[in-house]
């Protein structure tokens, strides 16, 4: 049951609904009453949020690849910084795209991925198959900038070789309904995964960050820090599952999810799960949901900041911890500005 299947088969019954345990907070079947017409050819604005950072750009408009998709295939030992722009440029229509990211042994890719809503109320699906051979490294930074009335689903399926490193930071401010999902097959064997994210949700937006990591072999590392700020009638969803399979001994897995709820009608649904079937593992998860610390707000006010400035500073700092962990310098500062422009008070 996926959005892409439903779009392909033109069949509403293929949509995930609240009866699917993994989709109970992000119901699509109840929301989509009829499938919109396929999106037409269209053009996108010339520059995305990452501007000119990196060497190459792969543009996808309304599900159509406008360039050389082989930019995402790196040969052994090759290094590259690529902007991947997934643009939705037509209102009220639907599109989907499937892409492959393949890194041969020792290759290194910085993938600057943006989801750009340049029209209203579209329905978008994106699927990335990512595979990293031995010792390859991928840092994926996603700025999900969907339009307020859009419905958008993005799924990344990641396979890692021994000693590979997959680092991810997803920043989103949601959409009418939006899900950003990442599934990782973790081989252990000194491979490392970092899967961070932050959702900044206002109005009636909905952002769902779902991740699943399965450790299949011994000596793997996974760390995760997700933070969220929700206000108005916004809704944030975090579902994180780390499975440590039998034999995946000495797995080191840490998950943290922390959210600020800034209004009575805002909502956060969180389901952190650790499923451990191996011995001698170091696994931990922590989750907190709360309001902004009133003492800290008053402290900042007492030093001269108006209440709104104090709250903005504190929420920015709260999210900053996620952004600080981005490895690529240029991308980190663009991400910081992006988040500041969408800050929630």
């Amino acid at each position: 049951m996926t959005l892409s299947l439903a779009l392909e088969a033109r069949d509403l019954a293929q949509l995930p609904s609240r009866r699917d345990e993994d989709w109970r907070w992000t119901d699509l079947r109840g929301l989509i009453r009829e499938l919109p017409a396929p999106s037409p050819e269209a053009v996108a604005t010339p520059a995305g949020p990452f501007g000119e950072v990196g060497e190459a750009e792969l543009l996808v408009v309304n599900g159509r690849v406008k360039g050389d998709a082989s930019l995402l295939n790196l040969a052994e030992g090759e290094h590259r910084v690529v902007r991947l722009r997934l643009v939705s440029a037509s209102g009220g229509t639907a599109h989907a795209v499937r892409l492959c990211v393949q890194l041969a042994a020792g290759a290194e890719l910085i993938l600057l991925e943006t989801h750009e809503g340049q029209a209203g109320g579209y329905l978008a699906d994106a699927h990335l198959s990512i595979s990293l051979d031995q010792g390859a490294r991928l840092e994926r930074i996603v700025l999900a900038d969907d339009e307020a009335e859009a419905i958008s689903v993005s799924t990344a399926e990641v396979r890692l070789g021994a000693g590979a490193e997959f680092s991810q930071t997803i920043l989103t401010h949601g959409a009418r309904r939006q899900r950003l999902e990442t599934r990782v097959e973790h081989p252990g064997q000194a491979a490392k995964v970092r899967m961070d994210g932050a959702y900044l949700v206002t109005g009636r937006r909905h952002a769902d960050l779902t991740t699943a990591v399965t450790h299949g072999g011994a000596d793997g590392v996974t760390e995760q820090l997700i933070k969220g700020v929700v206000a108005d009638q916004g809704r944030g969803v975090f579902q994180g599952r780390i499975t440590v399979s039998p034999g995946a001994d000495r797995t080191d897995a840490r998950m943290g999810h922390h959210a600020l709820v800034l209004s009575d009608r805002a909502e956060v649904n969180a389901k952190p799960e650790l499923l451990i079937f191996a011995d001698d593992v170091a696994c931990a998860h922590g989750a907190t949901v709360g309001a902004l610390d009133e003492d800290a707000v008053f402290y900042a006010q007492q030093r001269g900041m108006p209440e709104a400035v104090a709250k903005a500073l504190l929420t920015e700092a709260f999210i900053g911890e996620v952004i600080d962990r981005i490895g690529h310098d240029g991308a980190r500062e663009i991400a910081r500005t992006w988040a500041a422009d969408r800050r929630v008070v």
Binding site: D293, E294, D295, A296, F298, Y299, A300, Q301, Q302, R303, G304, M305, P306, E307, V309, A310, L313, L314, E316, A317, F318, G320, E321
Partner: protein
């Protein structure tokens, strides 16, 4: 400078201040001493405009201006500074960013131009040097992982940078050893000036050995029960607060 007249205030349903009056002229240091629960912290929060503290009667003016009509940040911009008993830890915001944001907010409220990053940095270096502070502390998230003494020193640093006119020190001595206490007191004493007033709120006489007050007031059961010179503090140290608690 500061004039408090018949101040009544409550927190939720409980009346804490019950007719407190106080005159603090410019250039003077007054100590407020009192037993636990007398309303010392409530007084500091009411003067600085914390939400949840409701004034039910009385007036507070700073140089004739009604302080109670102003928001907390507006009072700060007028020069009211509270040194917190327990300074907050703010993860993710460096001391420099926090203070520059605060300083520029104050300047904006007073109709002044913002301080440039270079000028701010220069001034911060000077003040840190005067206070014998490690400048690198200012690049760390504000107060995170700081010892009690370091946090109080950071309060003094902020105070020196913001150059307030009315300083309220709320139990500044709590949690400090003698060495840290001396450093803090030196920082406070350096700020004494004819156009500045200080209110030192404390439970113990100890701090007043280092910050010599012009006057001492005993706060008991929500009002000033006695006032006198520095000798009153020594008397309290010897005899305790029982007499005033009973009288109230």
């Amino acid at each position: 400078m500061l004039s408090v007249n018949n101040l009544h205030a409550r927190v939720e349903a409980a009346e804490i201040l019950k007719g407190l009056s106080l005159e603090l002229p410019a250039g003077q240091v007054h100590a407020i001493m009192g037993p636990n629960g007398a309303g010392k912290s409530t007084l500091s929060y009411v003067l600085t405009g914390r939400q949840g503290y409701e004034v039910t009667a009385g007036t507070v003016t700073l140089d004739g201006e009604d302080l109670l009509a102003l928001e907390a940040n507006e009072r700060a911009a007028r020069g009211v500074f509270l040194s917190f008993q327990y300074p907050l830890e703010i993860p993710g915001v460096t001391a420099m960013t926090f203070l520059r944001t605060a300083m520029n907010a104050q300047r904006k409220a007073r109709g002044e131009t913002e301080i440039s990053a270079t000028d701010f940095l220069k001034r911060a270096r000077e003040v840190a040097k005067q206070l014998k502070m490690d400048f690198d502390m200012l690049k760390r998230p504000l107060n995170v992982g700081f010892s009690g003494g370091e946090k109080k020193r950071m309060e003094i640093f902020q105070m020196a940078m913001l150059s307030p006119r009315l300083l309220i020190l709320d139990e500044t001595d709590s949690g400090l050893d003698i060495d840290a206490l001396k450093i803090v007191a030196d920082g406070v004493n350096a700020l004494r000036s004819p156009d500045r007033a200080m209110l030192v709120i404390t439970h113990y006489q100890r701090l007043l050995d280092y910050i010599r007050p012009d006057q001492v007031h005993v706060l008991a059961a929500g009002r000033i029960a006695a006032s006198g010179g520095p000798e009153l503090a020594l008397e309290l140290e010897r005899d305790g607060y029982d007499r005033y608690a009973r009288a109230a």
